[in-house]
Amino acid sequence: MANLKPGDEAIAFELPGVDDQHHALADYADKEAVALIFTCNHCPYAQAWEDRIVQTQADYADRGVQVIAINANDPEKYPDDSFPRMKERAQEKGFNFPYLFDESQEVARVYRAERTPEVFLFGKDGTLLYHGTVDDNYEDPGAVQNHYLRDALDAALADEESPVAQTRPIGCTIKWR
């Protein structure tokens, strides 16, 4: 179960990204909303949703929305999730958002994230607006009935409550050391 519930404050972090820069949550304090997504390279659920995450960033960027992806998996057990492989993946898939490596797994632990992908959406005031899965169909983007993340973003940008504030994250478990 995640450490945060809707209304709770985001927990600060600073991590290295595939762009070789350090990224802190505070760097994005001017954004209307920040979608923090724990994800990874190897997990098929993460792969199934990643194009949709890229598209979400593209669609909402000019409205002040920032996606930040974090991989916390142990690369010793899952070499595809190593930092060099993250860089390759980000390039191959055209990630248009920071992709950060939580090598110590400390950020994933304090958020108590469990799955990849798992979304924590924060509003302009830094409080959690939505936590859970991206949408309700990992297999077929055309068959999605509930666009949880997009609906929560639309609500945040309209200064309204998320229609659904929590769903069960669906994906691989985070691979702890």
Binding site: C43, P44, Y45, Y78, E139, I170, G171, C172
Partner: protein
């Protein structure tokens, strides 16, 4: 036909994959007992040459043979769908094609 279904419980779609397998077997009129194997340890994954969950074997052959350099682990498995998308589940068409191939490969009764 021997049908085996291997899964790792942490991968959430295994029940849906098993349901999909049984539906395709029904559709094809194949009355097979599906041997369901829960893979619970890295050692067991090595022993069973388990490349991820779910894995479906027909007469011992993987329905989507993994590359020879695949490593065996308790992990979820990526399947490439007919349209190129990645999915955690084999599509019904992937299962159908594999069943057709397994049936052709079986020695005929006559």
């Amino acid at each position: 036909m021997r049908v085996s279904f291997l899964f790792y419980e942490d991968c959430p779609s295994h029940d849906l994959a098993l349901e999909r397998l049984r539906e395709v077997l029904d559709e094809k009129g194949i009355d097979a007992n599906v041997e369901v194997v829960k893979v619970e340890s890295e050692e067991q994954a090595q022993e069973l040459r388990f490349v991820g969950s779910p894995t479906i074997l027909l007469n011992g052959q993987d329905i989507a043979p993994p590359p020879p350099d695949s490593h065996y682990a308790l992990t979820c498995r990526a399947y490439r769908r007919e349209d190129g998308r990645i999915s955690p589940l084999p599509s019904p068409d992937t299962i159908r094609r594999a069943i057709d191939a397994a049936e052709k490969a079986e020695p005929s009764d006559g």
